[in-house]
């Protein structure tokens, strides 16, 4: 799966978004090819928002499958979601 990564702007982030991204990358391993969010090859997009308001503008990403996380506690569920997406079973 080719996966783009997009962060919110981080004005009041409740957790370290970059650290969380690194954890997700490590957990998913080689099942995912990580690219920039604006890479047209990416059919999927992981959005990491620092709080529940999740104010990232998603309009430019219409047509892509969006996976969003805005709480650290949702790490396992997003890993599961992305793993299924990588297997093509989502």
């Amino acid at each position: 799966m080719v996966l783009g990564l997009k962060y919110c702007g981080g004005c009041s982030a409740r957790f370290d978004r970059v650290e969380l991204a690194e954890t997700i990358k490590q957990r998913l391993g080689a099942t995912v090819e990580w690219v920039s969010y604006d890479n047209p090859e990416a059919e999927h997009l992981l959005v990491i928002a620092g709080c529940e308001s999740a104010c990232v503008d998603l309009e430019p990403f219409q047509g892509k499958k969006i996976h969003m996380i805005f709480r650290e506690q949702e790490l396992e569920s997003i890993i599961q979601e992305l793993t299924q997406a990588a297997k093509g079973t989502d």
């Binding site: 997009k6 962060y7 702007g9 981080g10 004005c11 009041s12 978004r17 970059v18």
Partner: protein, 483 residues
């Protein structure tokens, strides 16, 4: 070069030939001067974060002129979402620097001018908007930092500009030429002036026909001939000249202010955005002030740093579990988030002006800034309450490093056993820095007077609330019938 890196920004400043004075001497190397350098670092961060994926959503925007990705500080707001992102960007930068990062004022000046140049043209058939948009594109393409300069020295406050015994108390036109104008006067309290590539001048008050020579707006390179910068002092500023970093409080960042003198400075016509259209001076002032009052979301960011420092020192002191300490920190957070609320609210309630630029809700922007004139003082008071008196009686870093007496400081200024004494000293110095040192200029007195003193906001609030509607409903509800 639509977006400079931090390093490119620093190098671009080295090419400027600014005429800067401090402590009675000309500053030959502005960028590396130890007193000025921390303020440059703060502006530099606005460039660095724009290149980081985890911040670019706030720090960048797409130019409505070219479609290119630009630093948000050079952007003209195209939606309420843009206004909200501006608020969030201010908080973010305040929360990372713990000081004034200086770049908002130029953004606010450009947004205000984008509205008013359009309005002047509509009435007078002039071409200010075209000139301004050309200038804006130049700023965006070069990713320049602009100083937005409004505040004149003002002389006798009871007198209008044209009535002043010294006509230079408000910056004014002294000569009109075929290729431009000559101006004289000064702008005071200019935050970030010597870290700027450009300076944008605006009038400071509403004006009448007699003041037409003072109704002038223009932009110049910061090193234009005839411009002199005289640096303002900040409390504890010379600590930056000392060895060590503890006593500075904030070892990385800071702000600066200066008096900017215009001694018969030439301005070419293509840089003039208002020329004697006195009836628009007040509009420009109000729009700029409203944007700039929104910008004080940055103080919530600085408040984040102060609250973090206060929680840390409470833990270092061993007092963090005391119920009154917990409650005071809750109060600090309550006040700080209330500041943020005002800025977010005026952004969400913004509207589109005829020029296409989005302007904040001016009533709520004034309410926001009115809170800013008060709450940081209370937050600072609570921080000092929790920090304890050691914050102001602590000996110097040199004493701490002294082989003769350093061990006494290590021993007697120990708090929580698990925390090194030096950490306790550093945290106390940071709180001192924000509440009474160099950063207190930005966090406290600038909160009071920057973007207009408290009474200016109260006048705007009184003008903008719908009092008739409030009275009408009150009468209806208690059964009073109007005849």
């Amino acid at each position: 070069m639509p977006m400079m890196t931090g390093e490119q920004y620093e190098q671009s400043l080295r090419k400027l030939n600014l005429n800067v004075y401090m402590f009675g001497k000309k500053v030959e190397n502005v960028v590396d001067d130890p007193i000025i350098r921390p303020s440059m670092n703060a502006v530099k961060l606005t460039y660095e974060l724009a290149h980081k994926p985890e911040y670019e959503d706030l720090m960048t925007a797409n130019s409505h002129l070219t479609g290119k990705k630009i630093n948000r500080f050079t952007h003209i707001h195209q939606s309420t979402d843009d206004l909200v992102k501006k608020t969030k960007m201010g908080r973010l930068l305040g929360s990372l620097t713990g000081c004034c990062f200086q770049r908002c004022v130029g953004m606010d000046a450009m947004n205000a001018l984008s509205i008013v140049t359009h309005d002047i043209d509509k009435k007078h058939g002039t071409e200010y908007e075209k000139r301004f948009l050309k200038y804006l594109e130049f700023v965006q393409e070069n990713d320049y930092t602009c100083d937005g300069a409004m505040t004149d020295p003002k002389g006798d406050r009871a007198l209008a500009p044209h009535q002043q015994p010294d006509p230079d108390m408000f910056l004014h036109i002294v000569e009109e030429k075929a290729d431009g104008i000559v101006v004289r006067g000064a702008k005071a309290h200019q935050t970030g002036a010597v870290n700027s590539h450009e300076i944008i001048i605006m009038p400071t008050i509403s004006m009448r026909a007699e003041d037409a020579d003072y109704a002038v707006s223009f932009a110049l390179p910061a090193d234009a001939e005839g411009i002199t910068y005289i640096m303002g002092r900040q409390s504890c500023d010379t600590r930056k000249l000392e060895s060590g970093t503890i006593d500075r409080g904030n070892s990385l960042y800071g702000g600066h202010e200066s008096l900017v003198v215009f001694d018969n400075v030439f301005v070419p016509w293509d840089r003039v955005f208002m020329y004697k259209e006195y009836e628009f001076a007040g509009r420009l002032v109000e729009n700029f002030a409203s944007y700039h009052r929104q910008s004080y979301a940055c103080k919530a960011g600085v408040g984040d740093v102060l609250i973090g420092a206060t929680q840390n020192i409470a833990e270092y002191n061993g007092a963090a579990k005391a119920s009154h300490v917990k409650d005071k920190i809750i109060e600090m957070n309550h006040l700080n988030e209330t500041l943020f609320c005002g800025s977010v609210a005026c952004a969400c309630e913004g509207h589109k002006e005829p020029s296409g630029t989005y302007l904040v809700n001016t009533l709520l922007a004034n309410v926001c800034k009115q809170n800013v004139t008060r709450f940081p003082y209370e937050i600072a008071r609570l921080a000092q309450d929790i920090a304890g008196g050691l914050m102001v009686t602590l000996p110097s870093e040199d004493d701490f490093r002294s082989p003769e007496v350093g061990h006494w400081l290590e021993k007697y200024y120990k708090g929580n056993e698990s925390v090194p004494t030096e950490h306790r000293m550093r945290m106390l110095r940071l709180i001192e820095n924000i509440t009474m040192g160099t950063a207190a200029v930005g966090y406290l007195t600038e909160s009071m007077h920057g973007a207009g003193s408290p009474q200016a906001q109260r006048i705007m609030i009184s003008r903008q609330v719908n009092m008739d509607q409030k009275k009408k409903v009150a009468k209806q509800l208690c059964g009073i019938e109007e005849k």
